[in-house]
């Protein structure tokens, strides 16, 4: 069996009780007195549609390591930090507690596990401090940022996060969902879960535009961004338009020195889940011609989410070498795994 990296497996504490050992007296009291509970992590886990994310190592290993194509490495993404509240001090405290919980409950129990650093999504300063706090632990491989944000992540106010990440040898994982309590799409408030679910794809596109337009990769040439659980079939048409517009208005962004698509190809990976693809093999073949699938995609099961079996259709079309890049090589190179 070829080696494989699963770039997106979820874990989540089942309640704040699990985080209490990692929170100060003040925050334990704050949570208890206010009656704060962990909710659906900004809707990533609708109760009847997605099973809860594993809350313990035994639960995780049973599902993830006993799978037929057993991954050699797994990157854990805990979305519990994708909150609705706006208290920056609480946000920072919860992020630290989650990272400590992930370390003790999961990373300490298997050398095949890696994890994303959860950081405050309301305060870049606190995100930087948290990155510095966990930087010495090489099992953290990337900083986890939600696609739903108040300010696009490429904005200059967020650059200290990338500087800290690179100093710590970390990359960035941009994950579906995020801040709730505001319009989740660029067109307004949604009325169905289906729109929320789909809506991660348009806003991921907006984030891709932001990283390039703001010159993030000129400032941080070694930074890689792994866009997770946001699809990828939209990428080629987006870049066709991005390049075209840049040719017309490049004066506005003089730090964008090359065609936008070149930055995207060098700096972004996209996870394979969800693979929402055409059933028609001819259209699938065209898609492979339109985008560099082996250089762009990286495998993720997205456990416990289930997005259908689009991935197997796609993998069947790839050569063995290309399949190995998607399943192993791309992630191994970005995260420094061997």
């Amino acid at each position: 069996m070829d080696p494989c990296v699963d770039c997106d497996v979820h874990c989540a504490p089942s309640s704040f009780d699990a985080l209490f050992p990692y929170l100060s007296d003040y925050w334990r009291q704050y949570i208890g007195e206010a009656g704060i509970r962990l909710n659906g992590m900004a809707h990533a886990y609708p109760p009847g549609v997605v099973a809860p994310a594993p809350s313990s190592y035994s639960e995780l290993s049973e599902h993830v390591f006993s799978a037929e194509s057993e991954p050699r490495f797994v990157v854990l993404n805990c979305l519990t930090g994708f909150e609705t509240h706006r208290n920056p001090y609480f946000s920072a405290a919860v992020a630290s507690a989650i990272n400590d919980w992930v370390r003790e409950e999961f990373l300490a129990r298997s050398d095949r596990l890696r994890a994303s650093v959860v950081v405050s999504s309301v305060s870049p300063d606190d995100a930087v401090s948290e990155i510095e706090r966990v930087a010495e632990d090489p099992r953290f491989v990337q900083v986890l940022l939600p696609v739903r944000s108040d300010l696009p992540w490429g904005h200059k106010n967020n650059h200290p996060i990338f500087a800290a990440a690179r100093s710590a040898g970390l990359q960035v994982g941009l994950h579906a969902w995020g801040r709730a309590g505001k319009a989740p799409t660029p067109s307004g408030f949604t009325t169905t879960y289906l729109e929320d679910y789909f809506g991660n794809q348009p806003i991921a596109q907006a984030q891709v535009l932001s990283f390039v337009s703001e010159g993030v990769f000129e400032r941080f040439p070694d930074l890689r961004v792994v866009v997770t659980e946001c699809g990828f079939a939209w990428l080629a048409p987006l870049l066709w338009r991005f390049d075209k517009d840049w040719k017309g208005v490049w004066r506005e962004v003089p730090w964008v020195k090359r065609r936008p698509s070149e930055y995207v190809r060098e700096h972004f990976l996209f996870t394979t889940a969800p693979a929402h693809l055409p059933g028609d093999p001819a259209a699938l073949g065209q898609l492979l011609d339109m985008m560099d699938v082996p250089g762009t995609l990286t495998y993720a099961s997205d456990y416990p989410h289930d997005h259908g079996d689009g991935l197997s259709l796609l993998l069947d079309q790839l050569t063995e070498d290309d399949r190995r890049r998607v399943m192993w090589g791309n992630a191994a190179s970005v995260y420094g795994l061997a």
Partner: protein, 371 residues
């Protein structure tokens, strides 16, 4: 119907006829405030003069890189005129230059949603009066779209009914971004009225800019590319909200938002519906089937892959061969020339469909026009 409307009905003409070959579905006539003010009631005019339009235009949020985002040669240089306000210059640079058979005006002056309903109703009505007086009567090739106070659907419906007898208004115009998502039932009465009067609804890029799932972009570049992203969200809202199921004859024209993203959106919505159809019980069919039946796209600013064949793939994957209508976007900076915009790879049949046939069917325009 008034006598002036009878005189201007399409098809009432004599003399030589020409077979229609080119329809431009997105042309921006732009009125100055003074041009519209004369149509306002004294109280609305006083409000305009004393308090102004209050809110910044989107061009102030995201300044265009050069020349206010316009073709530099389209500046009329006449007192009291701005880009797109001079019919003579448009005739010279667009209608005559390219032998355009019909040009559909989309006047964006009423696309905000910050006005009091009384003012919004008058302002949009003024836009429509101005189209009739300054444009339709200037050149018989010109058609228009009905500007409506879209945030106040009952007033919008009244405006549609007021204009419905004039066939030169070929569609109802809404922005691509509004206070609510455009699939919201709030707006359905507008869609029902348009459909009842045989008009498609054209959603044009722009409008309200205050929804930002990922936050505000910093630049015109990511804002402008992002217009395609906004329309993706809107199309998901239209499908999931059920308006195509509930208003069977409704036709929508997604304008100036790109086209090549449509295939990926269809695959994704269909996949989501397979797994979560019970979240949208109003839908009885796959999302892509509603899109096939109800949705048209204008070309400009069409995506430009390095390999033009890829654009053909994208059009085929989204089944857009009979759903794409040509647009120049005159007088904006990213104007698409009818002579150059479509890649040669498209071939004569698809080219003719896009340049002419699809729009003739969409808007019910005659295949021949008086010369």
């Amino acid at each position: 119907m008034s006598s002036s409307q009878v005189e201007t009905r399409i098809g009432v003409s004599s003399g030589p006829l020409r077979s229609v070959e080119l329809v431009d579905c997105d042309v921006h006539a732009q009125a100055t405030e003074a041009m519209l003010a004369k149509y306002l009631s004294p109280s609305a005019r006083r409000l305009l003069e004393r308090y102004g339009r209050r809110t910044p235009r989107v061009t102030e949020w995201y300044p265009r890189a050069r020349h206010s985002g316009m073709r530099v040669d389209a500046w009329p240089g006449k007192p009291g005129h701005i880009w797109g306000s001079d019919p003579e210059l448009m005739r010279e640079q667009l209608l005559d230059e390219f032998d355009v058979d019909y040009a559909v005006l989309e006047v964006l002056s009423g696309q905000d949603c910050y006005d009091h309903p009384d003012f919004a109703a008058e302002w949009n009505s003024a836009v429509n009066d101005w189209q009739v007086d300054s444009w339709f009567s200037f050149d018989r090739r010109l058609r228009g779209t009905i500007a409506v106070p879209h945030e106040y659907p009952s007033l919008a419906v009244a405006e549609i009914e007021r204009r419905a007898g004039d066939d030169r208004f070929v569609a109802v115009l809404l922005p691509a971004s509004a206070a609510e998502q455009l699939g919201h039932p709030k707006y359905w009465p507008i869609y029902e009225a348009a459909t009842a009067h045989g008009r498609p609804v054209a959603f044009h890029t722009g409008g309200y800019v205050d929804h930002r799932g990922a936050g505000y972009p910093s630049f015109y570049l990511d804002y402008h590319v992002g217009n395609g992203i906004v329309m993706q969200s809107q199309l998901a809202s239209m499908v999931a909200g059920g308006m195509f199921e509930s208003i069977p004859g409704l036709r929508v024209v997604l304008t100036e938002c790109g086209v090549a993203w449509a295939a990926a959106l269809r695959w994704s919505l269909d996949a989501a519906w397979e797994g979560m159809g019970d979240d949208v019980p109003r839908l009885t069919r796959k999302p892509s089937e509603y899109i096939d039946e109800h949705v048209w796209f204008t070309t400009q600013p069409i995506e430009e892959p390095d390999d033009p064949q890829h654009l053909l793939y994208a059009i085929g994957q989204a089944r857009l061969g009979d759903r794409l209508v040509f647009a120049t976007d005159y007088p904006h900076w990213d104007f698409d020339s009818p002579k150059q915009a479509l890649p040669r790879a498209f071939g004569p049949e698809l080219r003719r469909a896009i340049m002419c046939e699809n729009a003739l069917s969409l808007y019910g325009l005659p295949r021949e026009r008086a010369v």
